[in-house]
């Protein structure tokens, strides 16, 4: 009898210990995240991107200052909060990265292949101009309310296709975006997962990309976020600036409408 009581008490203590250990871990992570907000190395990417924006580049030696991100040639302020959008000159819905590539080809004279080269940096081995340009352009929308339109039929279509892609189950593991991002209050290991089917979740997630990733020492764009999600989904490699990547971005960006954009952010 005594032994059973002792055992039960020990079991309860062990359980309480585990719960405490987990609480301590979760609390520790929260503190770490708070500490990260102190200074954000993304500023280095923003500064480099601003320099690139104003530098004459490519075979035609022109700057980005005539590049129309949707609000008129050279207008950067607030542009990202309204992307993706339909661009009549390209007859295509484009996100920021795709539009930058478009300007590099049509204005600066790069080939499409050259313009799309190296979309993601790799620490000190290689730096990505696209990531720096994205950091600069997005920083000029900080505090601006997300306002992605769906007035053009192609914008509406991209949104609906993006929604469908979000639920597309495939690969060796039957995963879709929805596997991890369609319920609130869930975690993978200790990482909180945003519910992207709800306004609050979509807003919190979308408005905090791009982000400086401490674990990678790199600033990562939304194109990278999708690429790396699909890698973990066991899908093949998402092609940079593909129509599918833009449609999915359209779905997620429009779901974030109304929230103040707050990036480049910093994440673990």
């Amino acid at each position: 009898m005594t032994r059973r009581v002792v055992l039960a008490a020990t079991a309860a203590l062990v359980l309480a210990g585990v719960a405490l250990a987990q609480d301590a871990t979760v609390e520790g992570i929260a503190k770490y995240r708070a500490a990260l907000q102190d200074g954000n190395p993304a500023e280095l990417w923003e500064a480099r991107g601003e320099g690139l924006w104003k530098t004459a580049r490519g075979p035609k030696k022109v700057t980005f200052e005539k590049c129309d991100l949707g609000l008129g040639p050279g207008v950067v302020k607030g542009a990202y909060a309204q992307l993706p959008r339909y661009f009549p000159d390209a007859d295509r819905v484009m996100d920021l990265e795709t539009r930058l590539v478009h300007c590099m080809v049509t204005q600066q004279g790069y080939t499409l292949a050259d313009a799309k080269k190296g979309p993601f940096g790799n620490g000190n081995e290689s730096k990505s101009d696209i990531e720096a340009l994205v950091a600069y352009v997005t920083s000029e929308s900080r505090g601006v309310k997300m306002n992605v339109a769906a007035s053009h039929p192609k914008e509406q279509e991209a949104y609906r296709i993006g929604e469908r892609m979000f639920f597309f189950r495939g690969g060796s593991h039957d995963f879709s975006c929805a596997t991890c991002h369609a319920e609130s209050g869930k975690r993978i290991r200790l990482q909180d997962l945003p519910n992207l089917t709800e306004k609050a979740g979509a807003q919190l997630a979308y408005t905090t990309w791009p982000a400086y990733r401490v674990s990678q020492g790199e600033l990562r764009t939304f194109q990278w976020r999708l690429f790396d999600c699909f890698r973990q989904q066991r899908f093949p490699a998402l092609e940079f600036t593909s129509d599918g990547s833009i449609a999915l971005t359209m779905f997620l960006a429009r779901n974030a409408n109304g929230a103040a954009f707050d990036a480049p952010a910093i994440k673990r």
């Binding site: 585990v18 597309f168 593991h173 995963f175 993978i188 200790l190 899908f235 490699a237 129509d243």
Partner: protein, 208 residues
């Protein structure tokens, strides 16, 4: 006469409006375009070929009902097809080695294009489930499996259920978030047995 002209003008105007502003594509049309666009938006890399985007019947059905609850006739059919495809162990033994099962439950690598095709391949159970209580870094997408057999019993029926569930989760719960580890050749039969032992073995920390 004037009325007739107005009617004709109105009809012509309506026709122009219709041709200039076609009705939006149907859901079926959007779904077809989404599948085509998806396939054009990926490139084969490493061990992840484009065939990863070819859906089997279960994936197709679960995509169709994504975000909504499918009818019971649909879920019954998905569960039946998947249950009938389960390959039960030839020797009739469901339990392997729980210590190996713990390693498989911890291992997150496998099948990503960034992973070595030669392995290792794990089940990454802790990504979504609490399993053994010593591991505090667990996810919550799936239910806690702590004390799995202690609560359900250690008998052969529960052993078979645990093995079958790990082999093919859709056999018991249509459109489950859980991968079909045996069915989709993620884990070998021995690995499925080892993970089953992690849940079922009385000596496993799961049941302490």
């Amino acid at each position: 006469m004037k009325t007739i002209i107005s009617v004709v003008t109105l009809a012509a105007g309506t026709a122009m409006l219709l041709s200039g502003c076609a009705s939006p594509p149907s859901d079926a049309e959007i779904n077809a375009r989404a599948t085509a666009m998806l396939k054009a938006s990926f490139a084969a890399r490493g061990q992840a070929g484009l065939d990863r985007l070819d859906q089997d019947e279960t994936q197709k059905a679960c995509t169709t009902y994504a975000g909504k609850v499918p009818g019971k006739d649909v879920t019954d059919r998905i569960e039946k097809v998947n249950f009938e495809s389960i390959k039960w162990p030839a020797d009739g033994k469901y339990l392997g080695n729980w210590q190996n099962g713990e390693k498989i439950a911890q291992e997150g690598r496998g099948k990503q294009f960034s992973d070595d095709p030669a392995g290792p391949v794990g089940g990454n159970c802790y990504a979504c489930h609490q399993v053994a209580p010593q591991e505090v870094s667990y996810g919550t997408i799936g239910p806690s499996l702590y004390q799995f057999a202690k609560v359900r019993g250690y008998g052969p029926d529960i052993q078979k259920y645990a093995y079958g569930k790990i082999w093919n989760a859709d056999a018991y719960s249509a459109c489950s978030n859980m991968p079909r580890f045996g069915h989709s050749n993620i884990l070998s039969e021995q690995q499925v047995k080892d993970v089953t032992a992690l849940l079922m073995d009385p000596n496993s920390p799961v049941n302490k």
